[in-house]
Amino acid sequence: MSTATLDKNDAAGPVDSAENSATHLITVTLRIRRFNPEVSADSDWQDFTLEIDPKERVLDALHKIKWEQDGTLTFRRSCAHGICGSDAMRINGRNRLACKTLLKDIGPDKPITVEPIKGLTVLKDLVVDMEPFFQAYRDVMPFLVTSGNEPTRERYQSPEDRERFDDTTKCILCAACTSSCPVFWNDGQYFGPAAIVNAHRFIFDSRDEAGEQRLEILNDRDGVWRCRTTFNCTDACPRGIEVTKAIQEVKRALITRRF
């Protein structure tokens, strides 16, 4: 850290770097959908203006607001690096992870809108009730089901068999896909893309033996047949999972295994 400044003029060095860091800061307005049931039954937009590096993420901007401007701003985040799936929110009208969205990529010259994800009950500000989402996840039995004796070592699988469901193992359960689905918005009984993706992960796993059972669950009135292939889920997925393709593969498996 110090070597670079020591090479230059001792006195001017720190000032230079301070000036540099100040010049590339930009003024960003975050328009956040606020809701506090202890104050009002209505939600409203609140603008926050801050000086921030455009290479920072939306989550950094939210932190800056919460730590420096308004401590009552409420949102979820855990790892802050796109792995835990806590901070899915609707940024500029699109579901994204706040921790994977750089301010410079979403037009910081205009106000950036931040809303809670849709289709789930808003509890406060950007925090929603995830319970219906996880209920659908639990309903597809997202765990390995086997019979017979447990092997003394790991269960072997060929690279080809592993490749078959590789895409759907990437899911972090952030709910960006499910809460971007127009069918889910209007009918919470639909399993939603995330639950189907996680069923897909086991249905096409050569080690698993409950594929038929999971297919039967998704053959439900509110299962895969409600998918309208609008591709909102594929667009929304922060992990780049081809969600709609996975749903179509489950549909195909249902048809080919029935006939």
Binding site: E38, D44, D70, P132, Q135, N186, G223, K251
Partner: protein, 159 residues
């Protein structure tokens, strides 16, 4: 408290009086949320057959409807030739009877199934769903039966 700054005017005082920590405002729940009590699989393959039917009937309807439009509107002098005699002449042949019957049934069932999914997608309350579907099924059955009756009992000597 900061939100009261933005709401402005006289509203906040009303809100403060109405809601506090012990009496929070009701949250807005999405329609038909899934809970642990949600009934498990309905069994049966109805939705799968419905989905397959939409695809297959769609393919067949492309041929039937485009052929129908071509014959009715383009070939042999176009729409001006269509009259009572033209219809009577066509329905004298079992081939055209079957063509029109297939088109009627497939188009009506295809459209009805499509509207059924639209109702399922967009009607939130169970009551609304029930009555909209009831209306849809009644209209479908009426149209299909009436059309079938006309195709089979058509009498060219009616006048």
């Amino acid at each position: 408290m900061s939100t009261t700054e933005t709401t402005g005017t006289s509203e906040p005082t009303d809100d403060v009086a109405l809601f506090d920590v012990d009496h929070p405002a009701p949250v807005i729940e999405p329609p038909r949320a899934r809970t642990a009590k949600t009934p498990k699989s309905t069994r049966g393959n109805f939705e799968m057959y419905g989905w397959l039917f939409m695809r297959l009937s769609g393919i067949v309807l492309v041929v039937l409807v485009l052929g129908h439009l071509l014959i009715q509107l383009v070939l042999d002098g176009g729409v001006s030739k269509v009259g009572f005699a033209f219809v009577a002449g066509r329905w004298a042949s079992p081939f055209w009877q079957v063509w029109d019957l297939a088109m009627l049934w497939l188009a009506m069932l295809h459209g009805a199934n499509g509207l059924r999914t639209v109702i399922n997608d967009y009607a939130e309350r169970d009551n609304t769903r029930f009555w909209l579907k009831w209306l849809l099924y009644a209209a479908t059955v009426f149209t299909v039966l009436l059309g079938t009756l006309v195709i089979f009992t058509f009498d060219p000597n009616i006048r």
